[in-house]
């Protein structure tokens, strides 16, 4: 398959130590939650960022989605804490 770009924001970005990376797309049926679980197993900042999946929110191709959403053919996944604008 193709690659998917993963973007990190706020403390997710700080804990992982980078603002984006490109990985091999894990397949259309993979969910965001599954991908987060796999990334947490890398340890280090990933384990720290994804220790509490309940505190992670996501957008696929720049639209908010729940963590049980499938990746489908999305090219961009963003992972971040709950938003605090306004």
């Amino acid at each position: 398959m193709f690659n998917i770009d993963i973007l990190y924001f706020a403390w997710v970005r700080e804990r992982i130590g980078k603002d984006s990376e490109s990985i091999e797309h894990p397949g259309a049926d993979a969910t965001i939650a599954m991908l987060i679980g796999q990334m947490a197993e890398r340890g280090g900042g990933y384990a720290e960022a994804f220790a509490e999946p309940d505190r992670i929110r996501a957008a696929l191709d720049q639209v908010f989605v729940p963590l049980d959403a499938k990746l489908g053919n999305a090219r961009e996944l963003a992972l971040f804490p709950p938003v605090t604008g306004g």
């Binding site: 403390w11 908010f64 938003v83 306004g86």
Partner: protein
């Protein structure tokens, strides 16, 4: 076709000038909200991060929801990013409509949704050198969700 203006950037804005634009749209009512960085607690500054590729499109979806619910003549949304100090303007929402209820309700709806459903994150920096990300508040989610209760 109503007038819609959405701006995300570091620049400050002139709320009075924005109100004048909305007043010129021919309606009988203009409502607005200006958010200011609240000081106190030793806060030195806050930094606002956002998701540049998504932010304006997401605000556009929120504005479209407001336009579907109320007969609006115009909407202006400005959200600042970058470093902001206590007392500085951070966000502006302005609405124009034929009548006050639509303008006031749409303005409240827009700020409730901007706070909880647009990709911004605040990090506070304190005078003692500490800095921490602002936590999302359940009461903000409740303020948003009440718009879907009826």
């Amino acid at each position: 076709m109503s007038f819609v203006s959405i701006t995300v950037g570091e620049a400050d804005f002139d709320a009075a000038g924005l109100l004048t634009q909305l007043e010129a749209l021919g309606g009988g009512a203009v409502a607005s909200f200006t958010g200011i960085v609240r000081g106190g607690g030793g806060l030195a500054a806050m930094r606002l991060d956002h998701y540049p590729a998504m932010t304006e499109a997401q605000i556009g979806r929120i504005v479209a929801d407001a336009e579907a619910r109320w007969p609006l003549l115009g909407v202006v949304v400005i959200h600042r990013v970058g470093e902001l100090h206590p007392g500085e303007r951070i966000v502006f929402v302005g609405t124009a409509s034929a009548h006050r209820a639509a303008a006031l309700e749409a303005c409240a709806f827009l700020i409730d949704w901007l706070k909880t459903s647009a990709p911004f994150w605040k990090k506070e920096r304190f005078e003692d050198g500490r800095s921490e990300w602002v936590e999302a508040r359940a009461e903000d989610d409740r303020a948003r969700d009440k718009w879907n209760a009826d």
